[in-house]
């Protein structure tokens, strides 16, 4: 309670003004914690508990057993696979763009506009993004029409509602997200490191493999994990592109929630959600471990 003691000393000038004791200060945080308890903590607890609870409140393993059924495992595999793939593409392409951006003069107009553009597109995921791609490479899309004279290049009409189509659209927000989260890391590369390497007798190859590479590696892997979690959680984009079957976990959750009252659906939506929580928790634990490792030499 050092803070309080110092304040007492300073406020002593205003003898008439009573000083708030620690407990009263703590009361000030009640609205915040109460609000987040109702709208953040409670729903999370309801998911975890609900995964083991039937409609009537009785304990059930129905949700968990469905979660482990071959069909659901398949859906999870697809989701993990598409997250990893778009995460990888985003990491590579976004990494290159971030590096190119870091080469342009700091504070220049072009760079600022580019960063602003990236931060908007990173948040684009969703219904409108899907429309934009339907307008581009859908049946009547602009690119589809332009490519019509070359049948070999023309996108398949069903492409966008296929998994590869969804993956392509995901890249549209994965790449800019990578640029945004990775830019600070490449901006942190000091020109002195390259010059010191050259000066000591190293080549560009030496610089990239032994200096810049190892320095960037933790944030590169960390960014990949963030992208992975981002794609894994995405719902709106997929919902707007794929209307028929539930091939991804978020879509399956939607249909489970919609058919909650059907026979045999007890606790299924909650179990799926719990599965997602576990996946994201593992990803975030890896992320934290990675950052901790990097902190060994990063101030």
């Amino acid at each position: 309670m050092t803070a309080v003691t110092t304040t007492t000393g300073r406020d002593a000038v205003h003898a008439s003004r009573p000083v708030l004791p620690g407990a009263v200060n703590a009361l000030g945080t009640v609205p915040f914690f109460a609000y987040t308890a109702v709208f953040l903590v409670l729903p999370t607890v309801l998911v975890v508990v609900g995964a083991f609870q039937a409609r009537n409140g009785a304990f059930t393993l129905n949700g968990i057993s469905q979660l482990l059924s071959p069909r659901t495992v398949d859906i999870f595999t697809t989701s993990l696979w598409i997250s990893a793939l778009t995460g990888l593409v985003g990491t590579v392409a976004g990494g290159v763009i971030a590096y190119a951006l870091s080469l342009s003069p700091e504070g220049s107009l072009g760079r600022r506009v580019m960063v602003a553009l990236m931060s908007v597109t990173a948040q684009f995921g969703g219904v409108m993004l899907s429309f934009a791609f339907i307008a581009t490479i859908g049946i009547n899309g602009l690119v589809t029409r332009l490519l019509a004279p070359f049948p070999a290049l023309t996108p398949d009409p069903g492409f966008l509602s296929s998994l590869s189509g969804v993956a392509l659209v995901y890249c549209y927000f994965q790449i800019p997200l990578m640029v945004i989260v990775f830019l600070p890391a490449v901006e942190g590369l000091r020109p002195q490191w390259r010059e010191a390497t050259e000066n000591l007798g190293g080549t560009s190859w030496t610089y990239w493999t032994r200096v810049a590479g190892p320095i960037l590696l933790p944030s590169l892997l960390g960014s990949f994990l963030l992208l992975f979690a981002n794609a894994f959680s995405a719902f709106a984009t997929a919902a707007a592109l794929i209307s028929q079957q539930s091939v991804l976990v978020p879509l399956e959750i939607e249909s489970a929630l919609r058919n909650e009252n059907d026979l045999g659906m007890d606790a299924y939506a909650q179990a799926l959600a719990l599965g997602m929580i576990l996946v994201v928790a593992i990803v975030m634990a890896l992320y934290a471990a990675l950052m901790k490792r990097a902190a060994r030499w990063a101030a």
């Binding site: 953040l40 998911v47 080469l103 504070g107 684009f124 409108m128 934009a132 581009t136 997602m276 994201v280």
Partner: protein
């Protein structure tokens, strides 16, 4: 050395140009799509006329309802998130530093819990809200949207509060006899203006783009309205998307440039002094 530098310049130009093209093509396509009749490919401004021509039909009513709800919820989310977070963060920094890690953890938590997961747990909560506490009006979703905005608002305020010497500012104001509300509104808020602007903006962007909660809890907001309209009239959906996306980009870029220009002015003034 000179050779290396020009190679770097070309690399940069080519990569950035490709990136710009890749990110602009879908927007251009959206514009094209909105003015082309799907079957014949004829240019036709019907969607735009329908949108801004002042006519009335079911689609437009749905859109108006969705947009109206989204705007009201955005306003509510701004008020609630700032009203909740700003006093709490100031208080924690000044008096309860030991709680700062907890507050940070709670605020960043929504980043790690997918919205589709949260909504599964929110469904029973909203069941209670719509039957026992309030009603089933869409706008009450704003309470949940505050949670989605929490990480962004927290980060904006955090960097804003880091940039000012909160303790000295508030103690100075207090020593001149200011009450806590005066400190908050007349000393801190003006100094946090750019942090507040950016958190308001992030909240707007999140709420106007939200689809998951509204869709799963069967409410009508801008995005679910667009989703429905697209099933029957792709052109109108494309036109509205373009307006929203283009508007967001222009707004954000402008905002960023205004901040950049002001910074530059401050810097050059400091330079002269």
């Amino acid at each position: 050395m000179g050779r290396v530098r020009s190679r770097g310049t070309w690399f940069r130009r080519i990569v950035l140009s490709l990136a710009v093209v890749y990110f602009l093509v879908p927007l251009v396509s959206l514009a094209d799509f909105s003015v082309r009749f799907p079957l014949t490919g004829k240019v036709d401004g019907a969607a735009w006329v329908a949108l801004f021509g002042g006519g009335q039909n079911d689609k437009l009513n749905l859109l108006t309802e969705g947009l109206g709800n989204s705007l009201v919820m955005a306003a509510m989310a701004v008020v609630i998130s700032l009203g909740l977070l700003l006093p709490t963060m100031v208080l924690v920094r000044l008096r309860l530093p030991r709680l700062s890690k907890v507050v940070e953890f709670v605020c960043l938590l929504p980043l790690t819990i997918p919205a589709v997961v949260l909504v599964v747990g929110l469904a029973p909560v909203y069941l209670v809200i719509s039957t026992k506490v309030l009603d089933s009006n869409t706008i009450w979703l704003a309470f949940a949207y505050v949670i989605l905005c929490l990480p962004y608002v927290y980060r904006a305020l955090d960097s804003g509060l880091r940039a000012i010497d909160l303790r000295t500012l508030s103690e100075t104001a207090r020593s001149f006899g200011a009450s806590w509300p005066t400190v908050l509104f007349r000393v801190l808020v003006p100094n946090l203006r750019s942090a507040l602007v950016s958190s308001v903006f992030m909240t707007l962007a999140v709420v106007l783009g939200e689809f998951t909660f509204a869709r799963m809890l069967a409410r009508t907001n801008l995005q679910t309205a667009l989703f429905e309209i697209n099933l029957s009239d792709g052109q109108i959906a494309a036109a509205v998307s373009l307006v929203v996306l283009g508007g967001t980009i222009v707004l954000l870029v402008t905002l960023d440039l205004v901040v950049a220009l002001r910074e530059r002015r401050v810097h050059s003034r400091a330079g002269i002094a």
